[in-house]
């Protein structure tokens, strides 16, 4: 098969290196000597999947620290898919070139709601039954993890199990059990799996709905099946596994650099932020741990850049000391340090200056909203003054291109809030003309706000496509002829479908399946997203998408995702929603004392914060 691939197929496709594997630091474990054989299937192309940090962690962890085996597979680009299908070659793993169907476990990483169509497509390309109920004794267990599965219900029919929470905590345990129950009938295996904390087996539950169509409850069908699924959390984060020998791709992938995960979780408490809620509590690594990890990765990879990753890297307590040491150690050999996201303040710019002694490319900041009122509503605790200070510092130290991220369609948004975005952009540009040495370029990324499950805005209605489009026109008009300000919008139909799935329930599965049958795949790629096909699929399955995306929910309404326990109480989320309505902020509990979100108490754990360093 490999020979045919190399001779007849790969020479015909774009970017064949996506499909060859054999990269530096790839791990090929013995198929026969491994206990459980799993393939980590990433439902997007190689260069996206290879940039995903969680996959790197799980790949190293399972292969280095357990007796199981973990290989990789990515969604083939449509040109490759067509050739594989035409030549009857099943979708294969990059390590052993085996069909996904040969593995014991096929695990998908769900980073984005709309990647579900690619999951289905990948299963189909390997000849694995798409619905969990159609899989037999010899079929793999198809599982999923990642941020999307904190509301697994819309995808329930397609997966045998969902692993909720930090993967390094739960996956090894899951694979141990898979090996232990080998040989048992599939039903017994599933029942055994349901007993692992954090594992959700959708086939063992029945969803009930009221006559009004609202979700009522999710009932376990058997004794011993938990009615709540508690997410898993890495407790000793500093000592948790992190790969010293990451795979080094040959082709240029999106994030092609050494990564240090300095911190997990974020307690800024931005009310729109899904990750900020589901990945609590904050856990930091020690500076010396990170320095050691950097050394090991650079030695094994030869990377030219080290990136400091987390939800809010500038909030990492040891940031200054870490950056100083990394620059000192690696600057002389031409190895750079990069900060993926900057906090909106002057300190961040100073630090960015330190690491970017080199080229000053575009600087990215995320004020998220254009007025103080709106920022208070979403709890983005920065002031206009802080932003302008940061911007001035950036222009003074040589940047002349800025990218600012905003959202619109936020709860309680009014015209003045939209006007505020443009006003802010113009002010930033004015600061630029005053302090920058050259003409400045201001780019604004304007995202459509999509309310997500497990956030304070889970009760709130999303803007309709028409509302988004009207607001978009308004923003463009308000910007006027100012050539120095570029506005970059998202597709409103994509956001609509994302919103439907984000707060959906089990009843959506037939529509998802149909959409795939109608050719939907790579839905996160604008050039492939087919809104008309999704509409057709929803219509034919009698689903009103507005019910999910555009409807405001009452305080007491039960949600299909309530049974997933992320450690934050519903009461806290509701209280935050109320605070938003009152335009009141909630400060970061690291500085301002506990806000009673519930995470530390419920999980009996503490935040892992370093001693304050000067």
């Amino acid at each position: 098969m490999k020979d045919k691939l190399f001779r007849e197929i790969l020479p015909l496709v774009s970017k064949p290196v996506r499909y060859t594997g054999n990269e530096l630091n790839m791990i090929s474990k013995s198929w026969t000597e491994s206990q459980c054989r799993m393939v980590l299937a990433f439902p997007d192309v190689y260069e996206v999947g290879m940039s995903h940090m969680g996959s790197k962690i799980l790949y190293g962890l399972v292969n280095e620290k357990t007796d199981h085996l973990l290989e990789r597979s990515y969604a083939p680009w449509p040109d490759m898919e067509a050739l594989l299908r035409r030549n009857k070659i099943p979708l294969y793993s990059l390590e052993s070139y085996r069909s996904l169907a040969e593995f014991d476990v096929v695990g998908f990483s769900l980073q984005y709601e709309l990647s579900i169509t690619n999951c289905i497509n990948m299963l189909d390309m390997a000849g694995i039954p798409i619905h969990s109920s159609d899989r037999g004794e010899t079929d793999p267990m198809v599982i999923a993890g990642g941020p999307v599965v904190f509301n697994p219900e819309p995808f329930a029919e397609f997966f045998d199990a969902f692993l909720i929470g930090d993967g390094e905590e739960i996956l090894p345990e899951y694979l141990d059990l898979c090996y232990a129950v080998r040989g048992l009938p599939r039903g017994d295996k599933l029942l055994a799996m349901a007993k692992i904390r954090g594992v959700y087996i959708p086939a063992l539950y029945r969803a009930e709905y009221g006559e009004d169509g609202l979700f009522k409850s999710l009932m376990p069908l058997q004794e011993g099946v938990p009615d709540r699924i508690q997410k898993r959390v890495v407790t000793d984060f500093d000592q948790s596994y992190f790969p010293d020998r990451p795979i080094v791709p040959y082709m240029n992938v999106i994030h092609d650099r050494a990564i240090l995960e300095v911190m997990r979780g974020c307690q800024r408490g931005c009310r729109f932020c899904h990750a900020g809620m589901v990945y609590r509590p904050v856990r930091e690594k020690k500076v010396e741990t990170l320095i050691r990890q950097a050394g090991a990765q650079i030695k094994s990879s030869g990377y030219e850049e080290i990136s400091l990753s987390s939800l809010s890297t500038l909030d990492y307590t040891g940031i200054k000391s870490l950056v100083t040491q990394l620059v000192e150690n690696y600057g002389p050999c031409g190895i750079g340090v990069s900060l993926p996201s900057l906090r909106v303040d002057a300190f961040s710019i100073d630090l960015a200056n330190e690491v970017q002694k080199v080229r000053k490319t575009t600087l990215t900041l995320a004020p998220e909203a254009g007025t103080q009122k709106m920022r208070d509503i979403i709890n983005k605790n920065i002031t206009e003054e802080q932003l302008l200070e940061a911007v001035q510092a950036a222009f003074e130290s040589g940047w002349n291109s800025l990218k600012l991220y905003f959202m619109f369609g936020l709860p309680y948004e009014e015209e003045e809030d939209l006007a505020g975005i443009i006003r802010m952009l113009k002010e930033v540009k004015a600061v630029g003309s005053r302090y920058a040495r050259r003409a400045v370029e201001i780019k604004a990324g304007l995202a459509n706000f999509v309310p997500k499950a497990h956030t304070p805005f889970q009760w709130h209605q999303q803007n309709s496509m028409e509302e988004f489009d009207i607001k978009k026109e308004y923003l463009i008009k308000a910007r006027g002829k100012d050539r120095g300000i570029k506005l970059d919008f998202h597709n409103s139909s994509t956001s609509f479908m994302e919103g439907v799935l984000a707060r959906g329930d089990r009843r959506l599965a037939p529509a998802i399946y149909k959409a795939w049958q109608y050719g939907c795949k790579f839905d996160s790629w604008t050039e492939y997203f087919q809104y008309d096909q999704w509409c057709k699929a929803l219509e034919e399955t009698n689903i009103d998408p507005g019910f999910y995306a555009l409807r405001a929910r009452g305080q007491e309404e039960n949600f299909p995702w309530d049974f997933i326990d992320i450690g934050i109480s519903r009461e806290f989320l509701w209280q935050e929603y109320e605070m938003a309505r009152q335009e009141k902020v909630t400060l970061d509990c690291r500085q301002d004392g506990c806000n009673d979100c519930g995470i530390c108490v419920e999980f009996g754990i503490n935040m892992e914060i370093l001693e304050e360093q000067s």
Binding site: V17, L24, N252, G302, C333, K357, V358
Partner: protein, 227 residues
């Protein structure tokens, strides 16, 4: 110190682009802790320059790059250091110190040899095809380069056509000009071979056998020709 390296870019890496190959080599230099020299300026980079581009889909038996070092090292040490960290399929074969004044590889390489490995075809039949080819007044193919519609005559640029049996396959080795009098690409050679009746499914492998500095009738490797 400036050095010139000869390396094998094996079949495993035949789908790498020139940029991929260069990035791979730079990362290997870092892993091996070679005392490479960095360029000046705000965005320092390793002073590495690759030889002529190896087309995607081909592997190379004898490829070349030049590298500047901060201090002197022994070529044997460098070969050993690099070969320990290079991915399977890539191997440094020879290293030679060269003078800073010597022109770049791209300037001196003016010829290359491409090998086409064929199966299920007899050497005698191939000899026959070659005879027919020699009879033709010109060897015209459509250009595969930037000017797509131009018809190119390859005859003046093909210096040698050699054939030999190897196991159950036959290898056609074509030594051609890269640049003056005509720049010949491997895919144009492929088109030429197909035009005389060789079937695509019989070609099981294509690789670049050598890069030459051709001086009159002499074919020197870039390691031999260093002045």
């Amino acid at each position: 110190m400036r050095i010139r390296c000869e390396y094998l870019a094996g079949p495993e890496l035949k789908f790498l682009s020139n940029l991929d190959m260069m990035r791979m080599m730079e990362r290997a230099l870092r892993r091996a802790e070679i005392p490479y020299a960095l360029s000046e300026g705000f965005n320092p980079h390793i002073k590495l320059s690759m030889g002529t581009v190896l087309p995607v889909g081909l592997w190379g038996k004898n490829e070349y790059f030049d590298l500047e070092l901060k201090n002197r090292v022994s070529p044997d040490w460098l070969i050993q250091q690099l070969n320990t960290v290079l991915p399977p399929g890539v191997k440094i074969k020879r290293v030679k110190e060269i003078d800073y004044r010597q022109p770049a590889l791209m300037k001196i390489i003016n010829s290359a040899a491409y090998a086409f490995v064929l199966q299920e075809i007899l050497l005698a039949d191939l000899e026959q095809l070659r005879e027919e080819l020699m009879q033709r007044p010109d060897w015209k193919v459509k250009s595969r380069g930037k000017k797509k519609d131009v018809i190119k005559d390859l005859k003046t640029g093909i210096y040698k056509i050699e054939m030999k049996g190897q196991g159950d396959s036959v290898i056609i080795n074509l030594t051609v000009a890269t640049g003056e009098p005509v720049n010949i690409r491997f895919d144009e050679l492929l088109d030429l071979l197909l035009s005389i009746g060789i079937k695509e499914e019989n070609i099981i492998d294509i690789y670049r056998e050598a890069n030459y500095v051709k001086i009159q009738e002499k074919y020197l490797t870039p390691l031999e020709k260093v002045i």
